[in-house]
C-alpha cells in the first residue's frame, strides 16, 4: 500500500532522474563543437508499478541513460558522397598542376616562350625561311636554335610530368599508414561496442567509430556492412576486406615497375607486402583502389591514367617530329666542307618503342652547315630539301595520321576537357556533400537553443520535485505528531 515514505522515495527517484538528465544536457553543451559528436537525449521510463492486494501503485520515474540521435543511413550516404568529392577534389588539384604546363599562348608579339604549339610553328617556319637563301649561315643557325627551343620545351614538359608523377606516388604511399591506424581504431571500437552494447546504440563509442569511418572514407573509398551485435565490416569499394569485427587487415606498400602498389593482408596480423614488392600472401588491390574514390583514388587516377595519357601524347609528338626531320635531313646534301657524319641527324634518335621519346628529345647537331637544305645529288645552292622539310609541318607525320599542329591542338583540348570535367564533377559532389552534411547536422548537431530550453525544463522539474519533497516532509511531521502534545518541527 502506498505510504508517505513511499511517496518520498518516489520524489527521491525523481530528483535522481532529473540530476542525470541535467548531466546529459551539460554533456551536450560541453561537446557542442566536438567533431563527430551526436547530441544525446535522456530517456525517461516509468518505473514498474507494484500491485499489492489488488491495488496498483506507481513507483515513479527512472532515467535509463542517454540515446544518441543519429541516422545511420544518412551517415552512410554522407560517407559515400565524401569519398567521391574527396577523389575528384584531389584529382582536380593535381590536374590543375598538369595543365599549368600548357598555358595557352596569347599570340601577342611579346608573349613569353614555352608554348610547344608556337615552337613547332617556328621550327618548321625556319625551314621555310631557309628556302629563300639555303647557304645563309645565320638562317641555318636559326633553324638549329628553334630546334633547340622545341626540344627543350617538350623534354621540359615531359620531365615536369615525370616529377609530378613521382611526388603523387609519394603522397599516395603516405596514405597507407593513416588508413592502417584508422582501421585499427575501428576494429578496437567494434570489439568494445560488441561487448558493451550489442543491441542498442553505443553512444560515444559509436560517435568515435563513425568519426573514424568518416575520416577513412575521405582517404579510401569504402563500403560498410552492418553485422550482428552492432558490429561493422568495412571493405574497399572493390571488395577487399579491411575490417571485420575485431579484426583489421593492414594495407602495405610495395614497389612494382617503379611505382607504388598497394597490398592488403589476407590474415589479420600479417603485413600484405614485403619490401621488394612481392605480395607476402597479400593481394594487390591497386587497380581497384584507383576507381574506388577517396584521396587515394584521386591520386592513383592521376598517376596511372591522366599523366600517362599526356606523356604518351608528348612521346608520340617527339617521336614523329624527330624521326621525320632526321630522315629528311639524311636524304639531302649539306654544305659542309668536312666529313658528314652517318647518320646526319638534327635530333637525337628517339627510342624505338616511342615511350620516353619526349623526355629524351634533344638537338645533337652543332654545325649548321650539316643541315641538308639541298636535294640529294644537287649542288649546295639548291633548296629542294629545305622545301621538303618545311612541308613536313603540314604533313601527317605524327602516328602517320596527324600534322604536328593538329596533334598538339587535340592534346591541349583533350587535357582541358578532362580538367573541366573534373571541375564540374567536384563542384556537383561538393554541393551534394554540403547538403547531406546540413541534413545530418540538423539531426545530430547540438543546438544550444534546444539545450537551453531543456535545461530550463529540468530546472523547473527539479524545483517541483524538491518542493514536493518539502511538502511531504511536513506531512511526515504531522504524522509523527499524531496524538502527541509536544510538536516536532
Amino acid at each position: 500500500m502506498a505510504t508517505i515514505s513511499s511517496a518520498m522515495s518516489i520524489m527521491t527517484g525523481a530528483l535522481d532522474a532529473d540530476q542525470q538528465a541535467l548531466n546529459v544536457v551539460a554533456n551536450n553543451v560541453a561537446n557542442a563543437n566536438t567533431p563527430g559528436y551526436t547530441q544525446e537525449v535522456p530517456t525517461w521510463q516509468q518505473s514498474e508499478s507494484v500491485q499489492i492486494g489488488g491495488q496498483t501503485d506507481g513507483m515513479g520515474v527512472t532515467e535509463t541513460g542517454a540515446t544518441s540521435l543519429r541516422d545511420r543511413v544518412l551517415n552512410e550516404r554522407l560517407d559515400q558522397q565524401q569519398q567521391l568529392a574527396s577523389a575528384s577534389g584531389t584529382r582536380l588539384s593535381s590536374l590543375q598542376t598538369v595543365q599549368a604546363l600548357f598555358t595557352p599562348d596569347s599570340g601577342t608579339s611579346s608573349s613569353t616562350a614555352g608554348d610547344i604549339g608556337s615552337d613547332l610553328t617556328s621550327f618548321f617556319a625556319s625551314f621555310s625561311s631557309l628556302e629563300a637563301d639555303p647557304t645563309n649561315t645565320s638562317l641555318r643557325e636559326s633553324v638549329l636554335s628553334s630546334a633547340k627551343t622545341l626540344s627543350a620545351d617538350i623534354s621540359g614538359a615531359a620531365n615536369s610530368l615525370n616529377a609530378q608523377q613521382l611526388s603523387i606516388d609519394q603522397e599516395a604511399s603516405g596514405i597507407t599508414s593513416q588508413v592502417n591506424s584508422l582501421t585499427t581504431s575501428i576494429a578496437q571500437l567494434n570489439q568494445q561496442i560488441e561487448t558493451t552494447s550489442p543491441n542498442a546504440d553505443a553512444g560515444t563509442l559509436e560517435d568515435q567509430r563513425q568519426e573514424d569511418i568518416s575520416q577513412l572514407s575521405k582517404l579510401v573509398g569504402i563500403n560498410q556492412i552492418t553485422t550482428e551485435n552492432n558490429g561493422l565490416s568495412i571493405t574497399t569499394t572493390s571488395g577487399a576486406l579491411l575490417v571485420a569485427g575485431a579484426n583489421n587487415y593492414q594495407l602495405s606498400n610495395g614497389m612494382v615497375d617503379g611505382v607504388t602498389h598497394f597490398f592488403v593482408a589476407s590474415t589479420a596480423t600479417a603485413s600484405g607486402a614485403t619490401s621488394d614488392g612481392s605480395s607476402a600472401g597479400g593481394t594487390d588491390i591497386t587497380a581497384g583502389l584507383t576507381s574506388g574514390g577517396g584521396e587515394l583514388g584521386g591520386y592513383l587516377t592521376v598517376r596511372d591514367q591522366d599523366i600517362p595519357n599526356v606523356l604518351t601524347s608528348l612521346d608520340q609528338l617527339a617521336y614523329g617530329v624527330s624521326t621525320a626531320i632526321n630522315t629528311a635531313n639524311n636524304a639531302g646534301t649539306t654544305i659542309s666542307t668536312g666529313t658528314v657524319p652517318t647518320p646526319n641527324n638534327i635530333f637525337s634518335t628517339p627510342p624505338t618503342n616511342v615511350a620516353g621519346a619526349a623526355a629524351a628529345m634533344s638537338v645533337v647537331m652543332t654545325d649548321p652547315s650539316l643541315i641538308a637544305a639541298a636535294g640529294a645529288g644537287d649542288a649546295t645552292g639548291d633548296d629542294s630539301n629545305a622545301v621538303v622539310m618545311a612541308n613536313l609541318g603540314n604533313q601527317a607525320i605524327i602516328n602517320s595520321s596527324e600534322t604536328p599542329t593538329n596533334f598538339y591542338s587535340t592534346l591541349v583540348a583533350t587535357l582541358g576537357s578532362t580538367v573541366s570535367q573534373a571541375q564540374t564533377e567536384n563542384t556537383a559532389q561538393s554541393a551534394s556533400v554540403t547538403q547531406l552534411q546540413t541534413q545530418s547536422d540538423a539531426l545530430s548537431g547540438v543546438s544550444l537553443d534546444d539545450e537551453a530550453s531543456d535545461m530550463s525544463t529540468m530546472e523547473r522539474a527539479y524545483q517541483s520535485a524538491s518542493q514536493a519533497f518539502t511538502i511531504l516532509s511536513n506531512i511526515m511531521n504531522s504524522a509523527l505528531n499524531l496524538g502527541e502534545s509536544t510538536t516536532v518541527s
Partner: protein, 304 residues
C-alpha cells in the same frame, strides 16, 4: 523540422566561392585574356593553337618574301641590261654588214662587239648577297668564262641547271631563278654567247664574209628574243610574289582578328561580372557579421 545549428559555417564556404570567382574575373581583366588555363575553354584553347600556327606561318613567309624579291629584282634588271647591250650589238653588226665600211672600221666593230660580250658576261656573272644568281645551284661558282684559245672563242658555263622554288603557305611554288645556261647558252641559234663569239670572229680579220655575218646577226636577233622570253619567267615570279604577299598579309590580318576574338576577354562583360561578384561578397560578409553579433543562443537570455 530542425535547423542545422552550423549554418554559419556553410555561409563561410559560400564566401570562399565568391572570393574565388572574383579572383578569376580579376585575373581575366588584368591579363586581357579570357582563356587563362586550358580548362576555361578547352575547345577555344585547341582552336587557338591552330590559328596561331597559321598566323605565324604567314608572318614568316612575309619576311622571307622581302628577301627573295630583292634577288628577283636584281636578276630582272641584269637581264634588262643584257637586252640593251644585245640591241646595240645588233645595230653594230648590221652597220658592218652593209659593206660600206673599210677594214679598220670592221675591226673596230669587232672590238666593240667583244666589249659588249665582256659586258654581257659580267652581267651573267651577277652576284646577289655574295652568291651568283645565274649559276643554278652552284651559287659559289662563277658561271661564265670565255676562252680565246680557239677561233671563234668559246664561252663555257660552270653552273648547273637547278631551279629553286619558294613555297607559299597556300602551296604555290614561286620560281626563284633561271639557270644561266638556259638564258645565255640556249641550243642552236638561241645561244647569246655563241652568236656574239661568232660575230667577233667574223669581224676581227677586217674582211666580212657577208653571208655568214648576216646569218650570225640573225642568230643574235633570235638570241635576243630568247633572252626576253627568259626574262618573262623572272617577271612572272615577281608578280606572283607580290600577289602572294598581298593575299597572305590580308589572310594574316583576318586570322589575327579571329584569334583575338577567340581569346580576348570582353572587358565590359568581365567588369560587370566582377562588380556583381564583389557586391555579392560584401553582402555575404555583412550577413555573417550580423548573425555573429546577435546573441546566438537561448543561454544568453536565461536568467541565472
Amino acid at each position: 523540422m530542425r535547423v542545422d545549428p552550423y549554418y554559419v559555417a556553410n555561409l563561410a564556404n559560400s564566401l570562399d566561392q565568391t572570393q574565388s570567382a572574383s579572383q578569376q574575373l580579376t585575373s581575366e581583366l588584368s591579363s586581357g585574356v579570357r582563356v587563362n588555363s586550358l580548362s576555361d575553354d578547352p575547345v577555344a584553347a585547341g582552336q587557338n593553337v591552330v590559328l596561331l600556327n597559321q598566323i605565324q606561318q604567314d608572318d614568316s613567309f612575309t619576311q622571307s618574301s622581302s628577301l627573295v624579291s630583292g634577288q628577283l629584282q636584281v636578276a630582272d634588271s641584269a637581264l634588262g641590261s643584257v637586252v640593251t647591250q644585245l640591241t646595240s650589238a645588233i645595230s653594230l653588226a648590221t652597220s658592218a654588214n652593209n659593206g660600206t665600211m673599210n677594214s679598220s672600221d670592221v675591226k673596230s666593230i669587232a672590238n666593240q662587239i667583244s666589249g659588249i660580250l665582256d659586258e654581257v658576261q659580267t652581267l651573267g656573272n651577277s652576284v646577289y648577297q655574295g652568291q651568283y644568281i645565274f649559276s643554278g645551284a652552284q651559287t659559289s661558282q662563277t658561271p661564265f668564262s670565255t676562252s680565246t684559245a680557239t677561233t671563234p672563242a668559246v664561252t663555257s658555263y660552270n653552273g648547273d641547271s637547278d631551279v629553286n622554288y619558294l613555297e607559299t603557305p597556300t602551296g604555290q611554288n614561286i620560281q626563284l631563278n633561271v639557270p644561266g645556261n638556259q638564258i645565255f647558252l640556249g641550243s642552236g641559234s638561241n645561244s647569246v654567247f655563241g652568236a656574239l663569239n661568232s660575230l667577233v670572229a667574223d669581224y676581227s680579220s677586217g674582211t666580212v664574209d657577208t653571208a655568214k655575218a648576216v646569218s650570225d646577226t640573225e642568230a643574235l636577233g633570235t638570241a635576243l628574243n630568247y633572252v626576253s622570253q627568259q626574262r618573262v619567267t623572272i617577271d612572272n615570279s615577281i608578280t606572283q610574289l607580290t600577289a602572294a604577299t598581298d593575299s597572305i598579309t590580308s589572310e594574316q590580318t583576318q586570322l589575327t582578328t579571329a584569334q583575338t576574338n577567340l581569346m580576348q576577354a570582353d572587358v565590359g562583360q568581365v567588369s560587370t561580372s566582377l562588380s556583381l561578384s564583389e557586391t555579392q561578397q560584401t553582402a555575404l560578409e555583412d550577413v555573417i557579421a550580423q548573425l555573429n553579433s546577435t546573441s546566438n543562443s537561448l543561454f544568453s537570455k536565461l536568467q541565472p
